[in-house]
Symmetry: C2
Subunit: 195 residues, 2 copies
């Protein structure tokens, strides 16, 4: 007989696979690719530490819950590097299918609760979700700057591409973080000369 | 000039090192050792999913904050596997020194706030901290069961040792989780025969 607790543990064991989903971004020391589980942890710490950058009324505890859950669908759908050109409709469909399967492992009441938080993040309409999304876009440039290029070097991207793909999103939920990142990114590319 | 935001980012970059601190526990598939950053993420998910196991009045959002922060001191002090015999006074002193340095990178107001949450976890006196501690002890046996032995095999521990070192702690904040774990652990060791 499968008990409620068996279902909760089955979900938590399945979630363990997020530790094996690798991202385009490297660790700050450049030693290896970051995985999506440790990335999610790092983002929850970003939310705690950068709470003063959120709009008034943002509920940081809810932002943290979104960030804990935001990448779980990658277990089935994989990570899509931000500088890749992907079919957004196909990705969204794959992620919905993944959410059905993965949240579906949980007892229905918990599944509904956690899926609701994830859907709010995905929709990016509430202030909480927009702040969470901004942090998700702000952390990779901080790692790339620390690593001396990181995924920018590997994907051969320039400042304008970063502003278009990353800056435009950070600005929505955390405009001062984009100002900060933009200045540091400009200084980085200047230091690289015409490379 | 170092701005407030520079200090916040310096802390977040330093925290990145937790992704390189390895633990005795393996991933559920046994493929490699777990690191303390992804372990911390997994525990935050345990808190979300197992909230119904907390005593009435436990604040799950505060539990999650503790779990995000709980292992940061390992960046300087390292992880102490639960089945190792360590000098607890020396470990506590090393962790306090680590907390001074690592939280000290933050602007003072944020440092005081986050250090307070970490100290509450360490003291294990409040219901929130005791639930967080119970989850920290409950996750490794779930991974070991999934991996078919994991750190139990590597450390050659028996059921009585697990009950003494792990069970005694899980029981404090989440007694039904220890009942569940104990039954599964007993079945696991029975299946191993007299090995
Ligand atoms: Ca721990």
């Amino acid at each position: 007989m499968t008990t409620r607790l068996d279902a909760q543990i089955a979900f938590l064991n399945e979630a363990d696979k997020l530790k094996s989903i690798t991202r385009a971004t490297t660790l700050a020391d450049g030693s290896r690719a970051e995985n999506s589980a440790e990335h999610s942890w790092h983002l929850t710490l970003y939310a705690l530490v950068l709470a003063d950058q959120a709009k008034p009324g943002v509920d940081i505890s809810r932002v943290i819950k979104m960030l804990i859950l935001h990448d779980l669908v990658e277990i089935d759908a994989g990570d899509n590097p931000i500088f890749d050109n992907v079919d957004h409709v196909a990705v969204a469909a794959a992620e919905q299918k993944a959410a059905d399967r993965i949240f579906g492992l949980l007892p229905p009441d918990i599944a509904a609760d956690l899926r609701g938080i994830w859907e709010e993040f995905e929709a990016a309409e509430t202030d909480d979700a927009q702040f969470a999304k901004s942090l998700d876009r702000f952390q990779p440039p901080m790692l790339n700057l620390a690593a001396g290029g990181g995924s920018w070097t590997n994907y051969n991207v320039d400042e304008a591409t970063i502003a278009a793909r990353v800056g435009s999103k950070i600005k929505i939920g955390a405009p001062a973080l984009w100002d900060y990142a933009q200045n540091r990114i400009a200084a980085f590319f200047k230091s690289q000369g015409s490379n």
